[in-house]
Symmetry: C2
Subunit: 203 residues, 2 copies
């Protein structure tokens, strides 16, 4: 009940912010304008979002929360490239299902890729995901995440594939090809993801 109200306020703030930021550009919008559009006080904004960047980045971050969970749920015998491709697909599935959600997500992706400050925060988020993914991958293969570079680099390659797909998706106009873009991106990194672990003995 109180939780529902909090979510309502956060949504209101986020909607007003995304509307303004997408139309006027990130730097041209102040927090005062956002809260004026949402009919709330400046102080309230910063109770819900850590920064102006946070409003935009959280929209995608929430969307991508299930990646690690999906990886943990994949069968252990599955090759890394296949398991990771399925994990990355989780946030995309929501886009292919609902076109309205998809169009909004594309606007947000475009805004992030066009704004250096947002891109930086977006990558900052990815650092945490990469660590989580790396831990999960290390557990899957029984590797030591501190000495073996494979888990962290495999996680990095996965996020690299995600980034590549988002860039091509945002640049194009058809969203039907999301699956194909994902396949092609993972085809590039798959030889390294599925390589017979040449670095084990050297650790």
């Amino acid at each position: 009940m109180a939780e529902r109200k909090r979510q309502l306020v956060a949504d209101e703030l986020r909607d007003a912010a995304l509307m303004l930021l997408a139309t006027k550009g990130f730097d041209a919008v102040t927090v005062d304008e956002i809260v004026a559009a949402a009919g709330m006080s400046r102080r309230t904004f910063f109770r819900y979002f850590a920064s102006k960047e946070d409003v935009v980045v959280r929209f995608l971050a929430d969307m991508s929360a299930g990646i690690v969970a999906e990886l943990a749920a994949r069968p252990p015998a599955e090759p890394p490239s296949v398991a990771l491709r399925h994990a990355v697909w989780v946030p995309f599935a929501a886009c292919t299902d609902r076109p309205d959600h998809s169009e909004r997500a594309r606007v947000v992706v475009r805004l992030i890729l066009d704004t250096p400050a947002l891109q930086a925060r977006w990558l900052e988020r990815q650092i945490q995901w990469r660590a989580d993914l790396a831990a999960e991958l290390a557990a899957r293969r029984g590797l030591d995440p501190d000495t073996d570079p494979y888990p962290r680099m495999a996680a990095g390659m996965t996020l690299l594939a995600l980034d590549t797909v988002l860039r091509q998706w945002q640049a194009g106009d058809d969203e039907q090809h999301l699956a194909e873009l994902t396949d092609r991106a993972f085809a590039v990194v798959a030889p390294a993801l599925d390589a017979p672990t040449p670095s084990h003995g050297a650790g």
Copy 2:
């Protein structure tokens, strides 16, 4: 002559900043403290550096400026993994040569990896490098950088290897193993870098 003086002022500012930031932590130091230590005015600081983060990040960015140039200078027939390994080695060579420079670089790397704001700016820099590397790689292999995901992803994997080496180097205490760390990181991504370009026909 005037150029020399500018460089002198920038060095003074950078030294004072790195000293304070490394000892007190990034957030605990204000620009006013830095300029007080350097004996200059606040306004002058921002004429030489775009932001507080810029002082730290530029120290590594300058060090890494030669990567793309080295890649362009490698023989065209060389496999991508070998050429890129040589390119990444350029900034490391300066560290293995001069221990004093090396120790300072390690402090800066540690500071960046420990400070989210700095890490974000560091990644923001890497975005530009990745685009430059991708363009050079596309030219090398005659690929279209807009439709083929290989150049951008190969550049991303290279920076991923760089990041992995820096993380392990900063965590350990021996700098003699820089070459070995680099070899191991590139061994992970080499299968993808040197794969027989399976995505060509699909573009």
